[in-house]
């Protein structure tokens, strides 16, 4: 059976584009000529077995790792050489596989920090933040949207796992990003939590395009407009969910018996 392997599809105005990204650790090619595009309005899922290079790819897109070769473009600007913060300022929002929060801050102050990052004014030495409506109002609105309004004053350390996930998403959302990079958002969530989070992400679909790295296949097939499959650092398949489900190659390297 022949497969339509489309590693580098020609797409209209991608908001995020990765071109020929390669990163080696010694002899191991963690990402090998990876090309991906995210177009406005879509949720693009990236799946692949453990060790396929997903984490390395996310780290390169977010700016924590520098690629050996290749380019990353965000909204028509090359961001390959920018710092993590520089990329975030240009509109790259992300969540982490393991929640990354300011744990001693309340949920509200965490989101306020994200609003502050978006406003780009962290050298204010005079005005107290607790009365700063430009931070408070948007932060409260975002918390409300993500169902955390009642937990606003609770420190992040005291939030439950599910709430921390929610808070991370709220922070990414408060940045008003052009692109959302979601690194295994369902990790560690129970079945109910996964369903609820799937609903949340689905509702955000029209607000911001998302690159979704996820192991939970129910969530992936429920959300994704397009799925790319990564194996041994390469994109081996890219297409709509039905095509991925039907693909013999994908089934072989990844879905195994469960597809």
């Amino acid at each position: 059976m022949t497969e339509p392997v489309l590693p580098n599809p020609v797409l209209p105005n991608p908001v995020l584009e990765v071109r020929g990204l390669t990163k080696s650790f010694g002899a191991l090619k963690a990402t090998d000529e990876v090309s991906l595009a995210l177009i406005p309005g879509e949720i693009h899922a990236l799946i692949g077995p453990n060790g396929a290079g997903k984490s390395t790819l996310v780290a390169q897109i977010a700016g924590q790792l520098t690629q050996d070769t290749g380019e990353i473009w965000l909204g028509g600007r090359e961001i390959s050489g920018l710092s993590v913060a520089g990329r975030a300022r240009l509109g790259l929002g992300r969540t982490f596989q393991v929640s990354s929060l300011a744990l001693e801050f309340s949920a509200l102050r965490n989101v306020m920090l994200a609003v502050q990052g978006r406003l780009g004014s962290s050298f204010g030495f005079v005005a107290p933040v607790r009365r700063d409506a430009r931070l408070l109002d948007p932060a409260r609105a975002v918390l409300d949207r993500f169902g955390l309004a009642e937990r606003a004053e609770v420190t992040a350390a005291a939030l439950s796992h599910g709430e921390r996930r929610q808070l991370e998403l709220a922070m990414a959302f408060a940045l008003e990003p052009k692109v959302l990079l979601l690194d295994e958002p369902m990790a560690g969530m129970g079945a109910g939590g996964t369903r609820a989070l799937t609903k949340v992400l689905g509702a955000m679909r029209d607000t911001v395009p998302m690159l979704l790295i996820e192991h939970d296949m129910d969530a992936v097939f429920a959300l994704a407009d397009r799925i790319s499959v990564l194996a041994e650092g390469r994109v081996i398949f890219s297409g709509p969910p039905d095509a991925v489900r039907a693909s013999a190659i994908v089934r072989e390297v990844y879905l195994g018996g469960e597809g």
């Binding site: 990354s100 509200l108 102050r109 962290s122 931070l135 949207r145 169902g147 005291a158 796992h161 599910g162």
Partner: protein
Amino acid sequence: MAEPGNAIPDSPRSGGSPLPPLGGGLGRGSVESWLNAALAVLLLAAPLAAIGLGEPYYANLASRVAILALAGVGLNLALGYGGMISFGHAAFFGIGGYVAGILAQGAFNAAPVISWPVEVMGSDSMVPIWLAAMAVSGVAAVAIGAISLRTSGVYFIMITLAFAQMIYYFAISWPAYGGEDGLSITVRNGFPGLDTYDPLSFFLICYGVLMLALALSWRIMGTRFGAALMCARMNPERLATVGIEPTPVKLAAFVISAMITGLAGALFADLNGFVSPSMLSWHTSGQIMIFVILGGVGRLFGPVAGAALYVLMEHVLGGLTVHWQLPLGLILLGVVLFARGGLVGMVAGGARHD
């Protein structure tokens, strides 16, 4: 678009967190506020009472507490709030001291302190000396911080130590300002409207500066800059992810921190009428660190409590034995092992600033 709204239920294994909601949101622990007020009043009342009882010596002791606390307030900004464990703040303390000493000497000899590229005359007035001490400490901190902040953890500790030791050896080997012997301030610098030789007046100057620095610290920590700085300590990756570069934020805090410690150095020089290279030595860095750790890392009045206890022990136990640092060491050990919030934390509870 649709409203996501619905909260996500917990996964079974995460459950409720054992941690209490540390005083919540933006509020401040009220016990700590009372303790801070008590410390401020106590430090003011002690020399007043001493002078009333005809023991002006104790006013000098209180000035010493205020000045060392001020040095600690500076370090606390970097170490406590910003998580930058500087083992080189003696550099700024000493630079402040030498700036005061050199300017005072210049004024005394009526000779320019610097003759090229511009002529800088000395000064025998505290306020311009303080500004100069803060400026020079700040410039040194920009250079030291910009290089040191490329590292973190134990390397940061070592590189700040190395810079301070470099300046220490430089001071020792520079004969123009006394080398190993140090530099005397023959006439204590003046302050408009006050007799700075009067122990109480000098104390009030030190106390006023300390209160100003505390107010500034408190104010800064409540601002956007403070929020970014505290996040840089807790989780620099998180800060970068919301688009804020951690390094410039930390560098700015390091510089402000150094300027406050430099100001303390200038006052210390006037208190002793003398500047010596020992102000620059790593022992001094360690001492300033002890004030902060003893009193409470990242607690506003921590350095005040720490410096007060240090000076009290130095005075009371130092009168009994030359080995007074042994009990100090034991107390420090106890604080580090059992009371991470220091003296302030022991009274006001485990909550840090939020």
